[in-house]
Subunit: 398 residues, 2 copies
Amino acid sequence: MPIAEGIKNALSSSSMIRKMFEEGIQLKKQHGADKVFDFSLGNPDIEPPPAFHEIFVKLAQEDEKGSHGYMPNAGYPHVREALAKKISREQNVNIDGSSVIMAAGAAGGLNTVFKTICNPGDEIVVTKPFFMEYRAYASNSGAKLVEAAALDDFNPDLAAIGAALSEKTAAVLINSPNNPTGKIYPASVLADLASLLAEHGKKTGRLPYLVSDEPYREIAYTENVPPFLSCYSESIVVSSYSKNLSLPGERIGYIAVNPAMSGRDEVVNGLIYCARVLGFVNAPALMQRIVASLTDARVDVSIYRRRRDAFMKILDEAGIEYTVPEGAFYLFCKVPKSKTGRNETDDKAFVEHLKKSLILGVSGSGFGKPGWLRFAYCIDEKIILASGDAFKSAMDSW
Amino acid sequence: MPIAEGIKNALSSSSMIRKMFEEGIQLKKQHGADKVFDFSLGNPDIEPPPAFHEIFVKLAQEDEKGSHGYMPNAGYPHVREALAKKISREQNVNIDGSSVIMAAGAAGGLNTVFKTICNPGDEIVVTKPFFMEYRAYASNSGAKLVEAAALDDFNPDLAAIGAALSEKTAAVLINSPNNPTGKIYPASVLADLASLLAEHGKKTGRLPYLVSDEPYREIAYTENVPPFLSCYSESIVVSSYSKNLSLPGERIGYIAVNPAMSGRDEVVNGLIYCARVLGFVNAPALMQRIVASLTDARVDVSIYRRRRDAFMKILDEAGIEYTVPEGAFYLFCKVPKSKTGRNETDDKAFVEHLKKSLILGVSGSGFGKPGWLRFAYCIDEKIILASGDAFKSAMDSW
């Protein structure tokens, strides 16, 4: 019995995304990095903005006394205040630092939130397709993910969510701009969702939280992403600097709660406690100080837009259907009709088929959506542009 | 029901250490930083060694392309290899990078280990007194801490540990140099512990892991700390750079497993998976690269030794008994006899009494050892030297 049963089972079905990422590393060693069309992982290749480099060098040179030591578990007070200003702007609320907790990335933040609000046996309702790690995050706190399929346009299906709610529902979890679909949920959908939850709360006496995982808020191609926090009193936003500043390896993000929520102080104290005992202790010190200086900085989103447009053209030419992404950096595609009699709902087979042409994507089954697959286009535009022939030849033999 | 029941209960009895730390901040604001004798938190005031600053500035100036992005979840291969060399030296084993997983500090590492090896309902045996957060770490994985009181000299009591073992025992957890006692477990004790576990394994068919939490390995005043990993096949070491490089706020550490353990690959894969889904994803990228360059660096331990000696003299003069620390930076003291009829087992009352003289310590009850208290001496020597009068006056009125 070297490891726990639950972990043994999880390992055998572990992240297809990560598996593909590791395979990509091997294939690149074998064929050369420019010969592999690796659309597997959301690992931004755009460098952090120049302002990042400046403050990074400045803080390293100063290397202020005590700056690598412990601070209060919630983060440096000045960092929480700086982020509160940014969040107030983005989320159409008026919050101060006491409603912000620095987190070790969005993954750390979500685990902290679930641990704080979920009794064992509680449920978290999520719109499908979704980032599959959510299931493990919920399970870490003894909670269960309840899946509500999205509408055909990948907006949340309020009827499905309504049917999934129960007295065990601790929270509804949304993710907009969405991974894997690139969908941005309109303000009207958020408002309807808020009404639905308020009504459910009235009926059952338990008002579920609405949790938004939104690391892609600043990667948007349409108008701005509608404010989330202001749409509902019991709202919690979890975000990170992995995408807007391209710092995924540094594990820096935050949790912010609606200051109008009932029991706000208890929730904040619970979040701080859970972040501590889950072993995060605090978000990394240096990166806290860096992001506090960069509340107006972001990567150049027009680069992603150009890649998206280039990629859509290539998919159009190959005859692969997709949903047009409004944000994030993923193209969610339908497995195409097969000329050779293959099963067009078999996304895993299509992903394997593409791999023969050195194209790496992630099967939609990995997001709870068989018959689809995800390509991440946060990679060099040259690779995207060079992938056309590979796509065409893969399609010819499919 | 704003937060989970379990968290609500935990909040009310939450870390006395952290509470004292936050109170210390308030008292310093009120009285001036040099007037408060704050021995509450293990937050090293010694700056990281000069080599840290050099590599920090160098990496910031280079700011290599892609260096803030994702790497494999276990950490950069070159970092794992560099640490394997250091660990091989310290632990008297021959390991390579494949047995090392980078972790977000020891707290992150311990949570990852427990999640990997504990089925819900399993038990982890720990020697008391111990760092109280262990209890929450175990509980996060559905495991229960089983406490085995130490001997009077604070060495593990093998009879007590033997009696605590059962078929539910997933691991025995030790911590040497010890927080709060400063005790270093001799090689003979480790060997006896290994025999005990091997025998238990033979009897029950379940060989418990032996997990060592040893962030203080390099803070030792006697001879070197005996190697741990080599003492037992099913051994796992968890450590961090919080103390030896004074980087507690940066959350960087590692897990290393004995390569001879049964099912090593499964354990390593389990650890990598658990680190990912617990939300750590990976240890912070920059700090990984920094510590890989600093495998020979450490803070100047003679500073801590000088402080320890100065502090022991002050306690001697005040008439407070303690156990002489062999490592770490804590003095574990007995609540002194009272001249005014106070209960000398009431460590909480003595801690409150000291606070009136602006002396901050942590009650032994916070480590499962009533009648004792802990002072951390990782603070400016001037403060230690200036505390003599405050201790004497506190003793006069106790």
